[in-house]
């Protein structure tokens, strides 16, 4: 994981925390939602991740006229044999970058949704298994809403972690200018692990011990979000499970084979801020910040096990 983070750090400079979160999310076997302004390195991060893990990679630019068949693939008629055969779409990759996800119409989003949840796609009555490991890194622009289809809650719930990168620090930006220029950093990213190793790492994460006291803590946190006055809807059961696996991966980061309440708190905001629904009508960045703020407040109120 450290090696992975180091490689990603080469591509996305000055963001060690965020890079760590990304690796945590991938190791936990979850999908990642990057939400940020254009031009802060979201795509670069995803591509670097694919390279460092030696995963097959595809990038799908979601647009308003994108159809499900464009991402899933289609039945193609072979004139010679007079048969149809399935030609896989760009979704059939181990790492898929869904750029500007919220620009695609709901139909297309739903097609992606099934792939994310079930690891398979249905097409013309046939199901096709997606490659394993299958990870989606989706990005969306929280500022420019015109012509977008906001992601439904059910879909947001399927992303393990939502992150925003933010602008790099001034000195990092300056260094970028002086050293890199226009050259892409991606070629410098080396493959340090493979799909098999990633899979075994994911197995390892599931073996991390989660004490009953910590499990109780997570459940109490979930209940607190459900009972909070400013939240329309609290954390779902899927959110609880997601926080569990994210905390497990986080524990691994610390070189532990058990989860502490600190791990839970560390992953709480990235894991849950996008899953709760606010009562207030704010949208975009401010909604995101407020949700994060509320979740943090809940974390302060709920006593951690001692």
């Amino acid at each position: 994981m450290e090696r992975l983070a180091a490689q990603l750090g080469r591509a996305v400079q000055g963001k060690p925390e965020e890079v760590r979160r990304v690796v945590t999310c991938v190791v936990a076997g979850g999908h990642l939602l990057l939400e940020d302004m254009p031009g802060v390195g979201k795509t670069t991060l995803a591509e670097a991740l694919a390279r460092a893990c030696a995963l097959s990679f595809s990038r799908i630019q979601f647009t308003a006229d994108l159809l499900p068949a464009d991402i899933l693939g289609a039945q193609v008629f072979h004139a010679q044999t007079a048969t149809f055969s399935f030609r896989p779409g760009p979704l059939f990759r181990q790492l898929v970058l869904a750029d500007e996800l919220n620009r695609a119409p709901p139909r297309t989003q739903s097609a992606l949704l099934e792939g994310m949840a079930q690891g398979q796609v249905s097409l013309d009555g046939q199901t096709h298994a997606l490659p394993s490991p299958f990870t989606v890194v989706a990005t969306q622009n929280p500022v420019d809403f015109s012509g977008t289809y906001p992601l439904p809650d059910s879909q947001l719930d399927r992303f393990l972690v939502r992150l925003s990168l933010g602008h790099p620090a001034p000195d990092v930006e300056a260094r970028l200018l002086t050293t890199r220029g226009a050259a892409s950093p991606l070629p410098s990213v080396e493959a340090v692990t493979g799909p098999e190793e990633l899979a075994s790492l994911r197995d390892f994460v599931q073996d991390v011990r989660l004490d009953a006291a910590v499990a109780d803590y997570v459940v109490r946190l979930a209940r607190a979000t459900r009972e909070h006055g400013d939240l329309e809807r609290g954390a779902s059961t899927r959110a609880v499970l997601a926080l569990g696996s994210a905390a497990r991966a986080q524990a691994l980061w610390e070189g532990r084979d058990f989860v502490t309440p600190g791990d839970v708190r560390a992953m709480l905001v990235p894991c849950w801020a996008h899953r709760v629904l606010l009562r207030s009508a704010v949208q975009g960045v401010s909604a995101r910040d407020e949700a994060a703020h509320l979740v943090e407040e809940i974390a302060r109120k709920v006593a951690a096990p001692r």
Partner: protein
């Protein structure tokens, strides 16, 4: 092989000790078994495993003992149950003293169980129940510790405290549950073993009824507070202390040293009538306790009818026919430690027919004098009476004289040739037998028929009945009054008639008796019937007061007290349930959490800056990020705490202390550093100003 836990062995040995106690309380084990086992117990408790090296030899010794016990058994010198119990206790002693291993362990507990069973066959005493409970509790603790000890890997400390606390709670509930079970659930009396057959604690037959009364015998019996007799009287006189004579037998022949009877055994029947009944009979339901130790039936003066006797033997309860002996004595024909029977007596003032049930030979003896009677006796009698011929008046006159001029003493002056002359003319002091003998003989010298009566005097009220103690044993005189029969005249000074024991001892014993009576009524004899009675007493409608108006229709509903009881029980159950649920719902205080509390206390004492609600984990992370010097000490400690609390790797013995010591050192160093730093800063500032 790791060393076994001392505590567990001690618990095991104590359990065996209590199991032995359950048998020993019956007082039937031979003394040498008592000595051997108690010696072994003491050695075992001091961890001296004497037999460990000579286990072959000791096994051989056991074999020899088994043969000896067998011989005693076949010769009839020992009861089979007693022999088996003795052998079981010796095996237990041998096992306790051998090398502690799993086999010895199991065998000790097994023999303990055998001993408890043997105790049940020997006695059903309250002390037995206490021993049984103690055995159960201690053996369970020891066994549970054994299981835990086996599960703990070598070199690891056994979590004794953690095991014993919940276990003790569980045992408490088990004992309470057993008691509740006992009270509430239907039970039947099996009567397989005679629960009353045991003589009880230190019981030695003390009343000592023999066929003779020998003047000059020891008088220590007057100080014996053991209860020999328990009686329920109908109609109940209701007084605290009875002023009554309980007669056992009478004597008619005196030879100068001893009182005997001319007539021996007569008819044997279920019930013997001594005197014709009148219409105001006093009914007595009497229980003779093992301390009594004789076979003579006792009844209040003057007994009319005795019988319906039940003998409580170790093999069960059976009815015993009774046999009439000379001197109006009635005896059980079955020998047993304790008996129950019924007696009817005439009230003291009733006219008993003339010399009832007396055969001619007995009648002739009433005026008989010993061969070598000191002539001074007759002279003294004549001198005191001064011509009084009316038998009762003469007897009272003589009794008053004796009470006035003679002292009471229990001390004996050797064995004089003529105890009566010694009493009347030399010592002028004696005990009840002397007074009674003197009165009887003085009357006879004056031609008035009289005989010696022995039995008990008095009776202390207890639980609606009366107790008579061994110390209440007494002797007095029956004067034959023509037309009225025998009348009791007591020459002994009144204050010396009842028991002469110490008041404290008597009170203590009375307390024990009271507890034991409760125990018998509510435990040993507690039956399905009693449970039924209890339930019925609760729901029975209240008895209407005699004067109350009968206008309110009798309600079919249970009375208020039933509702109140039900409410109280429901409330108690609810409270208990809440208590239990809170108890179990309470977060367990873990070793790691306790450790954390100590770390927190140490940090607070050292005034380490800490944010509100900041956990140790967060604090360490923050300090490490800031490069604080304390982080170096805190990081391993925090890691260990987290491992112990959430990682399932508990702190080892002494590890917490070690970590805390390291932390304290670091805190001290930090404090010293901080103390120096302000100086360093203050210096230039001071100079600058």
């Amino acid at each position: 092989m790791k060393r076994p836990l001392r505590l567990r062995l001690a618990l095991r040995d104590l359990a065996a000790g209590f199991a032995f106690g359950a048998m020993a309380m019956s007082g039937q084990l031979p003394v040498w078994v008592l000595v051997l086992f108690l010696g072994a117990l003491v050695l075992a408790l001091f961890d001296v495993r004497l037999v460990a090296r000579f286990h072959r030899l000791s096994a051989l010794g056991l074999l020899v003992v088994a043969v000896l016990l067998g011989l005693q058994l076949t010769s009839g010198a020992m009861n089979a149950v007693v022999a088996a119990c003795s052998f079981a206790s010796l095996i237990a002693a041998q096992r306790m003293l051998s090398t502690p291993n799993a086999a010895a362990e199991g065998q000790t507990h097994l023999t303990g169980l055998l001993m408890v069973a043997g105790g049940a066959a020997l006695s059903g005493d309250m002390t037995y129940a206490l021993c049984l409970i103690a055995f159960g509790v201690l053996a369970s603790l020891s066994l549970a510790l054994g299981v835990v000890e086996a599960a703990v890997p070598d070199g690891e400390p056994v979590p004794v405290r953690a095991v014993l606390r919940p276990l003790s709670t569980g045992l408490m509930f088990a004992v309470a549950g057993a008691v509740a079970f006992f009270v509430l659930f239907p039970r039947l009396n099996w009567a397989m073993v005679g629960p009353r057959s045991a003589p009880g604690l230190g019981a030695v037959s003390s009343a000592g009824y023999s066929n003779t009364v020998r003047l000059g015998g020891a008088g220590t019996i007057k100080g014996n507070p053991r209860v020999v007799l328990r009686a329920t009287l109908t109609p109940d006189p209701g007084r605290e202390a009875l002023d009554a004579y309980w007669v056992g037998r009478t004597y008619d022949t005196f030879d100068g040293m001893e009182w005997t009877n001319v007539v021996g055994a007569q008819q044997t029947e279920r019930q013997i009538t001594l005197r014709p009944a009148s219409d105001t009979l006093l009914h007595q339901r009497i229980e003779l306790l093992p301390a009594y130790g004789a076979r003579t039936l006792i009844a209040l003066e003057m007994p009319s009818r005795l019988g319906n006797a039940m003998a409580h033997t170790p093999t069960g309860t059976r009815s015993s026919p009774v046999q009439l002996q000379g001197g109006g004595e009635v005896r059980f024909t079955v020998s047993a430690p304790s008996y129950t029977y019924e007696a009817y007596s005439l009230p003291p003032d009733a006219k008993a027919g003339l010399s009832p049930g007396l055969v001619q030979a007995e009648r002739d003896q009433l005026l008989a004098l010993p061969e070598h009677l000191d002539p001074r006796v007759a002279q003294l009698a004549a001198q005191v009476l001064q011509g009084e011929k009316e038998p009762l008046a003469a007897a009272r006159k003589l009794a008053a004289f004796l009470q006035r001029d003679y002292g009471y003493t229990l001390e004996q002056a050797g064995t004089p040739e003529d105890p009566l002359a010694e009493f009347l003319f030399v010592r002028k002091a004696g005990h009840c037998e002397h007074f009674a003998t003197a009165l009887t003989l003085m009357l006879r010298t004056q031609g008035i028929g009289a005989r010696l009566a022995t039995g008990f005097y008095g009776g202390t009220r207890m639980d609606g009945g009366y107790l008579v103690r061994a110390g209440d044993a007494h002797a007095w005189t029956h004067v034959l009054v023509p037309g009225r029969g025998f009348i009791t005249v007591d020459a002994t000074p009144p204050s010396n008639r009842p028991s002469q024991g110490s008041a404290l001892l008597e009170n203590l014993l009375a307390f024990y008796e009271a507890v034991e009576a409760r125990w018998r009524n509510s435990v040993v004899d507690y039956s399905f019937r009693d449970q039924f009675e209890l339930a019925r007493a609760l729901v029975r409608p209240p008895r209407r007061a005699p004067g109350a108006p009968a206008n309110n229709a009798p309600s079919r509903l249970p009375p208020p007290r039933a509702w109140v009881t039900a409410a109280v029980v429901a409330f108690a159950v609810w409270r208990a349930g809440r208590f239990v649920s809170r108890w179990t719902g309470r977060a367990p205080v873990l070793e790691a959490t306790r450790f954390l509390d100590r770390v927190d206390a140490a940090l607070q004492k050292a005034r380490v800056p800490r944010l509100e609600h900041e956990s140790l984990e967060d604090l360490t992370t923050r300090l490490a990020r800031d490069g604080h010097p304390l982080a170096l000490a805190l990081t391993p400690l925090t890691r260990r705490y987290l491992e112990a609390r959430f990682g399932g790797r508990a702190l080892r013995e002494g590890e917490a202390e070690h970590l805390l010591a390291t932390l304290r050192r670091a805190l001290d160093a930090e404090a010293a550093r901080r103390a120096v730093k302000p100086d360093g800063q203050a210096g230039p500032t001071a100079r600058a100003s």
